[in-house]
């Protein structure tokens, strides 16, 4: 047995192992989609908070959120929630909502989430959205 032959056999064995693991990974990613942050948030708001969730039609800022956006009504207060993918995008969305005029405390930033409320949210309204943050 030469060194070269042993190394070749070892390489073949290692390749088989790695390819097997990658095959499992590819098969999984083709057949499954991990839920996105938006999907997790929507599911939480619907199932755990019992809210009706819909797409934010007519909101030009929310439409540009890379993580997607949704709209719901919490305790009678309409809120549009956008999901950002980076801190820079949070800034951009915030600036987008603030451009026409300062929305004050109606605009709430919580980590990756930028929420625009129709009226100033109460603590319980705000908490309902925080509970569904991922």
């Amino acid at each position: 047995m030469t060194d070269r032959r042993a190394a070749r056999l070892g390489l073949v064995g290692a390749l088989v192992f790695v390819v097997a693991q990658l095959t499992v990974g590819v098969a999984w990613s083709v057949s499954h989609d991990d839920p996105t942050v938006l999907q997790l948030t929507r599911r939480c708001l619907e199932r755990e908070k019992g809210l009706a969730v819909e797409p934010p039609i007519g909101d030009a800022v929310a439409a540009t959120a890379r993580g997607g956006a949704l709209r719901t009504v919490v305790e009678g207060n309409l809120v549009t929630i956008s999901v950002a993918a980076s801190a820079a995008e949070v800034e951009r969305l915030h600036a987008g909502y603030a451009a026409p005029g300062d929305p004050g405390s109606r605009l709430d930033v919580h980590g990756r989430y930028v929420a625009l409320w129709l009226r100033e949210p109460s603590p319980t309204q705000r908490q309902a959205t925080y509970d569904c943050a991922y």
Partner: protein, 431 residues
């Protein structure tokens, strides 16, 4: 003349790599916040209790009570010394001890490669560089943690055994190997598979030569050092290999879901290799943590709370590490297999030590991870497998050296490729 120059250049290159590694390890240990290392607070309590009260901590006093005491005794003594001279933080000398052990591992891996293939300088150099730039080693060397000392002692024991097995194993060599492996096991239980591998290799050699004494002496001298600890654990905690949590009662194979074994989200390790993705999926989780920093304890803000955002550079840097790790990982796996094949074909016990070590450590680790499942994934860490690093580094170097075409140009090309590999990793490796 050119040959003479090359002969002189080799020790200079080795020395330069070791000096650079020493500076890097010391720098990282100095910069790394000791509290961000694994089990840092529990380790400090243990070291404090051992060095000031001269006893082992109880289960209530330190979460790492199950870890053997050697490193804690040394770190504790250094801690007292630092306290006496007013050095803050008092844990820093313990981190520097871990860094010194990290450097010792690099030296020992080089010596191992030199012992096995004295004429193959490129192989020796590659083994040294691949080990010295292993992210798992560099991270562990900055922590206030016993892992690197255990690996250094275990690798020292393996080196003495391999030197003995290359010729005819003498009793003094067997005593020395056993003592080093006993001390390693008295530092971390992960050294036990290395002890088993060395004893098995010595037994194989003994069987061939009808000379059993060395294997018995290796085991005996290790057990002389280790037995008091094991007896204490058995008496005090009901198991010689007790862990800081009880194992679930269900059958072993029911303790982990299929995803633990299959690693279905393996591809995510190349896009977003940080917590909480693919948590508890053994291979992707281990791979991401070995090459990067899955749990975000290295040069990054702590893992964000729900809704929190990680800086994009943190994820991008770890994703780059995951891509960089593909070829070396493949080579390391190939190397361990190749050494096993070669050892079997040549009936060489000396060659068998490293693959036996790697297989033993991997098997012990999988058994541990299955035996003690955890929802937060804290029993899956790349540093737990550091004991297999010498086998992986030398194995990878062996495959590269065996398969590369001969000639100076190819040697230079190999060195250039390794230099690129190192350069790509430097931003992550230097704190």
């Amino acid at each position: 003349m050119p040959t003479e120059r090359r002969i002189r250049a080799f020790p200079v290159a080795v020395a330069a790599i070791l000096v650079a590694e020493a500076v890097l390890l010391a720098w990282n240990a100095w910069r790394f916040d000791w509290l961000r290392g694994y089990d840092a607070y529990a380790n400090d309590r243990y070291a404090d209790i051992v060095s000031t009260e001269y006893r082992l901590p109880s289960e209530a006093e330190s979460g790492t009570w199950h870890t053997p005491p050697l490193w804690f005794a040394l770190a504790g003594a250094l801690r007292r010394l630092a306290d006496a001279v007013g050095w803050e933080p008092v844990q820093r000398p313990g981190q520097l001890l871990a860094a010194a052990a990290g450097l010792a591992i690099c030296v020992l891996v080089f010596l191992l490669a030199r012992t096995l293939w004295p004429e193959r300088r490129l192989l020796q150099l590659l083994a040294l560089v691949l080990t010295a730039t292993s992210p798992a080693l560099l991270r562990a060397s900055a922590m206030y943690h016993p892992e690197t000392l255990a690996v250094a002692l275990g690798t020292g024991g393996a080196l003495v055994a391999i030197r003995g097995l290359k010729g005819r194993m003498t009793i003094p060599a067997a005593v020395c190997a056993g003592a080093l492996l006993g001390l390693a096991s008295l530092t971390r239980a992960w050294a036990l598979p290395v002890l088993a591998a060395v004893v098995a290799a010595c037994a194989l050699d003994g069987w061939r030569r009808r000379h059993w004494a060395p294997s018995v002496v290796v085991l005996g001298s290790a057990l002389v050092l280790l037995a008091p600890w094991l007896v204490n654990q058995q008496a005090a905690h009901g198991s010689a290999l007790a862990f800081n949590r009880a194992a679930p009662s269900e059958p072993l194979l029911d303790r982990r879901p299929a995803s633990f074994y299959l690693g279905p989200r393996a591809l995510r390790a190349f896009g977003h290799p940080v917590t909480p993705l693919f948590r508890n999926e053994l291979l992707p989780h281990l791979y991401a943590d070995w090459w990067g920093d899955w749990a975000l304890t290295w040069d990054s803000p702590p893992p964000p709370a729900p809704a929190g955002l990680l800086p994009s550079t943190v994820v991008a840097e770890r994703a780059r590490q995951a891509w960089v790790g593909v070829v070396p990982t493949l080579l390391a796996l190939a190397g361990v297999l190749a050494l096993a094949i070669l050892a079997n074909a040549r009936r060489s016990a000396a060659l068998a030590v490293l693959p036996l070590t790697a297989v033993g450590v991997a098997a012990a680790y999988v058994l541990f991870a299955v035996r003690f499942p955890s929802t937060d994934g804290d029993t899956i860490k790349g540093t737990y497998l550091l004991m297999a690093l010498p086998a992986a580094g030398i194995g990878a170097a062996f495959v590269v050296d065996a398969l590369r075409p001969r000639g100076r140009a190819w040697a230079i090309a190999t060195v250039c490729a390794v230099t690129v590999l190192v350069a790509l990793q430097l931003p992550f490796l230097v704190l």
